[in-house]
Subunit: 222 residues, 2 copies
């Protein structure tokens, strides 16, 4: 960000019209502005009446794609939902994640079908076989309506490398049971998937500790 003379030293904030107001004026201005915001919000919410399972995609190069999905799994656990997880890349989830999920084994089923990152195996035929086995598992979970949430972690990487048939995956997700939430993670989400999704978030990396020589560590990376 470039500095402009109108900004005070040590502050990145643009001058606002409230800067010149007294505390009293500022409070009144704030109350008025927030009342407007509240009314606008309520008007929007009133039009949202449908409740159904969503197809959610977390993509982008930044961190937080799987972690946010992991957070949603715990929210679902809190609601008493049954959750299915298929990990398309084995070994990506760390001991922290596995240990805490195992405490909810009555609600959560995890299938780790992959064979490690594809740059570890360097064996395309084996990767394809593993991806297809994982996909069969995913299809079974999606078809089973007792699962209210199914997380397909790193499915995007399998679609990117053409390990799975894109049309078949799209067709399965499009025809999922009405109340089931399906979350797909991984960078480079295919356009066809984004098109049929209800909620798509892109995680963008602004700053990463690797640049400063800090290594991956428990609680953060795994």
């Amino acid at each position: 960000m470039t500095d402009t003379p109108s900004r005070g030293p040590g502050s990145s904030r643009r001058p606002k019209k409230t800067d010149m107001m007294s505390e009293e004026e500022r409070n009144a201005y704030h109350a008025q502005k927030m009342a407007k915001k509240k009314a606008a919000r309520e008007k929007i919410l009133a039009t949202k009446t449908e409740e159904r399972g969503l197809l959610i995609v977390h993509t982008g190069k930044g961190k937080g794609k799987s972690t946010a999905a992991f957070g949603m799994v715990f929210r679902a656990i809190g609601h008493g939902f049954k959750v299915g997880i298929v990990q398309f890349v084995k070994g990506k989830w760390g001991t922290g994640e596995r240990d805490v999920l195992e405490r909810f084994s009555d609600q959560v089923t995890i299938k780790a079908m992959g064979e490690g990152f594809t740059w570890d195996t360097q064996d395309r035929a084996r990767d394809i076989a593993a991806a297809r086995a994982a996909w069969q598992e995913a299809r079974r979970m999606i078809a089973d309506e007792s699962y209210r949430m199914v997380l397909l972690d790193e499915l995007n990487i399998c679609l990117r490398y053409d390990y799975l048939d894109l049309d078949e995956v799209v067709q399965t997700l499009k025809t999922k049971p009405r109340d089931t939430h399906v979350i797909v993670t991984g960078r480079n989400a295919r356009e066809e998937l984004i098109e049929i999704a209800d909620l798509v978030t892109e995680m963008t990396q602004v700053k990463h500790p690797f640049r400063a020589g800090v290594k991956a560590q428990p609680g953060i990376e795994f």
Copy 2:
């Protein structure tokens, strides 16, 4: 995305040089490419030797900022860490989150100090008092080295509305105990915070179900 004639119908993927290869050639090409990728990755990892607590910021207008932080909290729980959470906006976390966190009350301390979204209260003086009380709680948690992770949920909104002194917040975060991870969430993160952070992710909204008339629902929004 505009369509180009070189793309087949129903496919968003650009043609790759592997498209013309036989399965065998493609497998060999893949193995070679992945071996290179692995070597590059290992070279980078070898330079990353430092282990320390990070200052992490989740910002942007998209979803997943708090949810990814919530996921990190569960990862930390899995590692047996003690975690402190200060919610600067009360009522934002739903029953799903609270219910599942309460099952780990031996490891997790939650302080919900805010008074609802600022557009609900419309009372700036009360918001400021609540924000300052929450910040005192946050300072205590950060100073207590038994906490390995401290989540300051929606702190950014308080900084944006000048409810807290930015310099004081920056100073406290800059001088946090070495091993403590601090996570700050909320849109519109201030530049000064991004500057001192180790890891900054921006969540960008690509597609949101509100647009399609779908309302907030358990497991997804709360």
